[in-house]
Symmetry: C2
Subunit: 333 residues, 2 copies
């Protein structure tokens, strides 16, 4: 069988034993076609993986939005979803969340998904593998990105300036006298990880401090356990850092726990700055200094933009950056 990219209306007509005009009428939902014929042609299309050129993957008449998310266990994501769902409900839509990271990532994956559940638009909260994927997907259905984005494709997004936020966090650590700053990061497949690391590196170098590659960690998941084990390793070395910038409060909580286990005082021996300002940052003792991002509002705004696009395909592309804010607490003072 040909790949789905190359299958044409002629192939479908031949396979189903009908005329090209009949297939065309079915695709364009015009004219009368006998029900049995329609069913036969539709199932042939499905079997062959045929997708009409430029045909929409979504149905603007339906009231469902697909939220593609990286992982449910990241509390930042939960807050974003809350915002999305509130906006969706206000506009009469249903927002349904599914983890796609590591599972459904190609255009063909989304094509299969959207065949299974009709929806009016897609919000990507997870990272995208490449611009081509995003370009293809956004040409077939309304798409908005939230938190993650891809500047090279003209897709609407709501995000923050991660480079600036990371620089602010690191410059603050420098300002309180820290000289050996480590980074606990996620994998660089995420835009936010790449940008926060870029901001970290810039700030460290601009401050004239040493940039130690062995103090930069990349974890595959927003996992407390992984971060705890990594921080135990880094902080127990003979020449350990005196500060940590963590790209998630979950990581920051793990670094604090590692410091406690190793008998290090926080903030005296190790100062810690987290990211997100989720509840966890208040649960630890001391509470965590963190970069606050307005997660709920970001989700809400992204959903508004997506619904505007669904209801008016001519709606202009919007790219919005929310402000972040450094919140200083016990883990650094």
């Amino acid at each position: 069988m040909k790949s789905s990219e190359k299958i044409t209306i002629m192939d479908v007509a031949k396979e189903a034993g009908v005329s090209i005009a009949t297939v065309s009428r079915i695709i364009n939902r015009s004219g009368n076609v006998r029900d049995a014929t329609r069913q036969k042609v539709l199932s042939t299309m499905e079997q062959m993986g045929y997708l009409p050129e430029g045909d929409s993957l979504t149905d603007p008449g339906c009231k469902t939005i697909l939220l593609s998310i990286p992982e449910f266990k990241n509390p930042f994501i939960s807050r974003v979803i809350d915002g999305v769902q509130a906006a969706a409900r206000r506009r009469g839509y249903y927002a349904l969340a599914m983890q796609t990271a590591g599972v459904y990532q190609t255009f063909e994956d989304y094509q299969s998904m959207l065949k299974n559940f009709p929806c009016a638009g897609v919000m990507l909260i997870s990272s995208v593998r490449d611009a081509e994927f995003l370009d293809k997907l956004s040409s077939r259905c309304p798409v908005v990105m939230c938190s993650e984005y891809c500047e090279s494709v003209g897709v609407s997004f709501v995000s923050i300036d991660d480079i600036k936020a990371a620089k602010t966090a690191v410059e603050y650590l420098v300002s309180i006298g820290r000289k050996k700053i480590a980074l606990m990061n996620s994998l660089l497949t995420h835009k936010y990880s790449r940008h926060r690391e870029a901001g970290f590196r810039e700030a460290v170098l601009e401050s004239g401090l040493e940039l130690r590659e062995d103090w930069i960690s990349h974890l595959s998941s927003i996992s407390f356990d992984m971060a705890l084990s990594e921080a135990m390793h880094v902080l127990s070395a003979p020449d350990a850092p005196d500060a940590y910038f963590a790209i998630s409060d979950v990581y920051a909580a793990a670094i604090l726990k590692a410091a406690n286990k190793l008998g290090l005082l926080v903030p005296q021996d190790v100062s810690i700055v987290g990211f997100d300002n989720i509840d966890i940052s208040l649960m630890t003792d001391p509470a965590l200094t963190t970069m606050k991002q307005p997660s709920y509002q970001m989700g809400y705004q992204a959903c508004e933009i997506l619904i505007d696009k669904i209801e008016n395909p001519a709606a202009e592309t919007r790219q919005i950056f929310f402000e972040t804010e450094l919140i200083v607490r016990g883990s650094t003072m």
Copy 2:
């Protein structure tokens, strides 16, 4: 217009200007009907809110499962969803999560939802308002409950013995010499809240301790802030409890924070037992003693049962209780 309960096939035929036989053919997907007629009748049905008696709300041929959840911000729920999604993927299904608590709760709400997104079955992780709702829904589509359940209706579920788990927690607090035990609970609309409170009350009374109603709190959400404020109130009273059983580790973390703020030592002045054994129970200092429930496995198993039911409507009803386990940590010793 009549309520959707009472609209009949005759009403639809009259409204659409077609014969009853035509409507019947469309409902039963039998025989040829002109496409324009079919569309007209289907849209008439929709406008009138007509639902054929006993007709399925779901489509066993599709590969989507709806997860109805109470709130994304509860980390216990995130773990359950992870388990559900893993099982769904293994069986070739998509599991999509939506918050329904406080928003979509009646049978009519679900009817509207399921019109909007075809799915093969529904998993209820949120509580159900009444047995009648569950009875109606489960007669129209495959349903399984997870964590919450309703014994009076023959619907499959996966849960834990919440009464026993709560008794174990309270009896443990009594065994370490605690005499004034408080309860931080959610609203009694949840089965788990009712059962954990029943277990708490039983254990307190059986131990010959005083049952203080002013030491029992009911919060509307798994919210750290709400629990912090409530615990500040209870623990700062002249005659304060010397122990807390919290039905969520999120609440337990808030009680610990309140104790710290009030200058109370944990576990000496106040011993705290949480519930769930989520990551948060390891993030606090001291770490939290907690009742572990196997959240991921519960989600996984519930999803297996649902898919079995989707693929074989004759599959027997299964009601499974997983074991819980008391994990003792620094907040009590």
